[in-house]
Assembly symmetry: C2
Homo-oligomer: 191 residues x 2
Amino acid sequence: MSTAERLVESTRDLLWERGYIGTSPKAIQQRAGVGQGSMYHHFAGKPDLALAAINRTAQEMRAKAEEQFSASGDATERITAYLRREREVLKGCPIGRLTQDPDVMADPMLRAPVEETLAWLRDRLAEILAEGRERGELDAALDPQATAATVVAVLQGGYVLARAADSPAPFDQAITGVLGLLAAHTSTAPK
Amino acid sequence: MSTAERLVESTRDLLWERGYIGTSPKAIQQRAGVGQGSMYHHFAGKPDLALAAINRTAQEMRAKAEEQFSASGDATERITAYLRREREVLKGCPIGRLTQDPDVMADPMLRAPVEETLAWLRDRLAEILAEGRERGELDAALDPQATAATVVAVLQGGYVLARAADSPAPFDQAITGVLGLLAAHTSTAPK
DNA sequence: GTCTATAGACAGATAGAC
DNA sequence: GTCTATCTGTCTATAGAC
């Protein structure tokens, strides 16, 4: 892996663990095994490195979600697969956590990928729910937009509960709960 | 307000806005209008101040939630009142945001109130849901524990979505969505 | 490209005068 | 109780040699 690559990966790890404010250039260099001068040769500074790191994480997150979204199965099956997918629950969401970082939210460049990724997730889920409703799989009373927001929120909030409890249990419960609620909106008629 | 009081309030504000890592003793003093020596006379240091601040915020959060929980009305009404209560959505949850602060989570004293408050919220909501189920108001198939975790997660995740979008809209949608899902589990039989 | 040196500002306190 | 001085270390770079 190139020096620049190692710096970006190191920054991704640290942003996930400690956030933007809690991540120093020195820590990034040490984790990457790269010297000070080398870092400033490849990147203009901390914001520049963070931008590269956040963009890559956002890209990766979409790609992983799209794996479940575009798989075969009806709406409920694909959403279940997405929610039940293996995750590093106790580490939290590497994108969602950035919303708590005032310096990230204050910089339009850093903020954009965070905003876009979560908006994309909601839109994509809303599409899948709308499709399920049209096919008669889901109750006509179900609001795709609102329900999509709920699903993403359960995920993001589940991470918060898991970190607070230092256990993945409340995350799993929250997922179980929302899937149970969604099941009641599923048509019992044959597909 | 006493000097000590002003320091605690100032710390509460800053922890909410910038988190533990992002909050310096100097910033606390300036916002409180209190000198350095004065601060260290009343508090041992930053962790001590943070402990006082977090405990107060946790206490306040429980009291406000209990207002809706112990009000009159059936389970759905009380949960709706809790979720629809006026909130400073764009500021996020002052307790939930601390789960992203590694230094807070690493200190058992600072971590305890965060863990306990969110656990208490889940337990309290589970009680209310169980009660509603016993009364026949809610579907017998509904899992009170899991659903309670879902409700708290929607709240915590709703804050994340709102901050990402810089708009309360996705928060409101997430609430609308979960209440819509819950409605399908509500018995249509007379109470 | 990578290294070391340097630098001004801030973090998080301690000490002692008043 | 509050104030000012002082201190060690870190933050986030810049400069210039190799």
